[in-house]
């Protein structure tokens, strides 16, 4: 057995790592997987960078930021596997949400209109809305910025973004420190269940097949431990398929609920696993079948184009300086080559390309793939824009900011 330590945060989308251990998929591949529960992304990053763990569940933009040395020393990380697609939501205090479309289903169904309502509500609100984000380099923060800006809201001027770990969001809502937050499940669901907040927009409605948590390793570790890494990816791929299977969801919810994992009630966790989202305390759940994907539609394949989308947004918001070298380095964080190597012959469906136009699939589409048919679900951004990884300048020029 090869020992591997992997760090995670208490979130529903740690499911694949947790299932890999608890359902024996890691052991099957000769890996003694030890999970290290961590309370902040900074600690998770340090444990990975300084070699206390060999793998981690990481925010995709944080993997890019650490590799580029944004906000600290640069350590090249490698992302050979996506742990899930989507899974977060923006929730706001009920009085703020009421100033948007009062019908939560209508709010969620039309993100563009809701963004404009949000812009109007800022003007009427008693103060600049304080919105909790889990990290500046998080998918949710980038999607939130993208969504706010679509209605002319400057996320650096018109709202106040406050960084808090997911597990402290509820307390910050209770004490009135923040007016809302965006985080991965089950934390939005928990805030809604307690009546502290209502759903305003789901990550999956901003970008229907976005990028969320990834498996990250140090690039030098991955290079020096190729055989072990391949076995780990195989274990994770089996675990991801298990997590996605409807018949396993109840067991998965119970497994995640345990105090050493997420430590929240199984009912709260089960809703989004079952493709449902309760938008307001006591309301009937709304269907949200693509709220969180673990495996289907090549959910685990690390598209280079998504690392570059992240890079484009870091440049857009002035968090990274534009340079060809940095762009190449950002794109190189995602490692479809390792994914292909590790899962070759495993039956996993392989996309024919390693990058794609992001946001260009309007209806479920079969694409070129090895090892079987690959059906990609609609991946659109809510504003209809398409990201071409070969034309980042033109893409950025299309935004007012």
């Amino acid at each position: 057995m090869t020992p591997i330590r992997a760090a995670f945060l208490p979130l529903t989308d740690a499911a694949v790592l947790i299932a890999a251990r608890e359902q024996g998929f890691a052991a099957e591949q000769g890996i003694a997987l030890e999970l290290v529960r961590t309370e902040s992304w900074a600690t998770l990053r340090d444990r990975l960078v300084y070699g206390q763990v060999q793998a981690a569940q990481m925010l995709a933009p944080l993997a890019v930021a650490v590799s580029l040395g944004l906000g600290g020393a640069a350590t090249p990380l490698a992302t050979p596997f996506r742990l899930n697609v989507n899974g977060n939501a923006l929730v706001m205090r009920p009085d703020f949400a009421a100033a948007l479309d009062p019908d939560p289903a209508a709010r969620l169904a039309d993100p563009l209109a809701t963004a404009h309502d949000f812009a109007a509500a800022i003007g009427l609100y008693r103060r600049k809305p304080q919105i909790g984000i889990v990290h500046r380099f998080s998918s949710h923060a980038l999607m939130l910025r993208y969504w706010l800006a679509s209605a002319g809201i400057d996320p650096d001027r018109d709202v106040s973004l406050r960084v808090l770990p997911p597990s402290l969001m509820l307390e910050a809502m209770r004490s009135g420190e923040i007016d809302g937050f965006t985080a991965g499940d089950p934390w939005p669901a928990a805030a809604i269940a307690e009546g502290l907040a209502e759903a305003v927009v789901l990550g999956a409605r901003i970008w229907r097949r976005g990028v969320e948590k990834v498996l990250a390793c140090r690039a030098d570790w991955l290079a020096g431990n190729a055989a072990v890494a391949d076995r780990l990816l195989l274990a994770l791929s089996h675990a991801a398929a298990w997590c996605d299977a409807p018949e396993n969801r109840a067991e998965l919810a119970e497994m995640l609920a345990r105090p050493d994992h997420v430590g929240m009630p199984a009912e709260l966790i089960a809703a989004s696993l079952n493709g449902q989202f309760v938008p307001r305390a006591g309301a009937a759940p709304l269907p949200a079948d693509d709220f969180l994907l673990f495996h289907r539609e090549a959910a685990n394949f690390p598209w280079r184009s998504q690392a570059l989308w992240i890079w484009s947004q870091l440049v857009r918001w002035g968090q990274a300086d534009r340079s060809a070298e940095a762009e190449a380095a950002a794109g190189a964080v995602f490692r479809p080559d390792v994914y292909r190597r590790a899962l070759a012959g495993s039956g996993a469906v392989m996309p024919g390309a390693s990058a794609k136009l992001e946001g260009a699939v309007a209806t479920p589409t079969g694409v070129g793939a090895h090892g079987g048919a690959l059906l990609l679900g609609p991946d659109g951004f809510f504003d209809g824009r398409v990201f071409d990884p070969d034309a980042i300048d033109a893409y950025l020029a299309g935004f007012a900011k």
Partner: protein
């Protein structure tokens, strides 16, 4: 040199604070990582910030260090990331250190050394305390089981103890576990509690 310790337990912070005082640092402030702690730190303008590695508030602090105008950009974390040994020791001890002013490594290293030593000693003390508590609890359970055996089986204290120990050895269990099982069984059977 102004040092801020961020800690929510109090005990660990005061252990560290005492050590720093003894080492001749006298400008030390302890801040709880809750509410508007970021603005309190900002007002203090520290040179070095020491924080529990496991604190959920680390992301909040790092964000502040990135955007704050009052504080310079953090020049280093764990003093100097090129010093691998020091970094590893700090992480093992559970400390994250932020140097928020352009302090030279030589000036910060003794502080971090001291913090590592104190944090490690504190963790050891906590572990010993926990173990002592367990031992105490174990002894109470064993005494009760012994009393039951003496009462029910008419054994003397030494024989009751030997019986418990032999049963534990045969079952490959801790004595306290066997004792606990005995107490439970005895109360289920409604036999007199000692």
């Amino acid at each position: 040199m102004r040092i801020v310790i961020i800690d929510d337990t109090g005990a660990r912070a005061s252990v560290l604070e005492d050590g720093l005082h003894e080492a001749g640092y006298d400008d030390i402030h302890v801040v709880q990582p809750s509410g508007a702690f970021v603005s309190r730190i900002e007002r203090l303008v520290p040179d070095v910030v020491l924080m529990d590695l496991g604190s959920p508030s680390r992301d909040t602090l790092e964000e502040m260090l990135l955007v704050s105008r009052a504080l310079a950009k953090p020049i280093a974390m764990f003093v100097d990331q090129s010093d691998d040994q020091m970094t590893a020791a700090a992480i093992d001890a559970g400390i994250s250190a932020y140097v928020v002013d352009g302090l030279r490594k030589e000036r910060v290293k003794p502080i971090l050394d001291l913090a590592v030593g104190r944090f490690t000693a504190f963790a050891r003390m906590q572990a010993e305390l926990a173990e002592a508590r367990t031992q105490l609890a174990d002894r109470k359970v064993i005494d009760r089981a012994k009393a039951i055996l003496m009462q029910q089986r008419g054994l003397n204290e030494q024989d009751a103890y030997t019986l418990l120990r032999t049963s534990a050895m045969n079952a490959n269990k801790r004595m306290a576990e066997v004792a606990e099982a005995l107490i439970t069984a005895s109360s289920l059977l409604g036999k007199g509690q000692p």
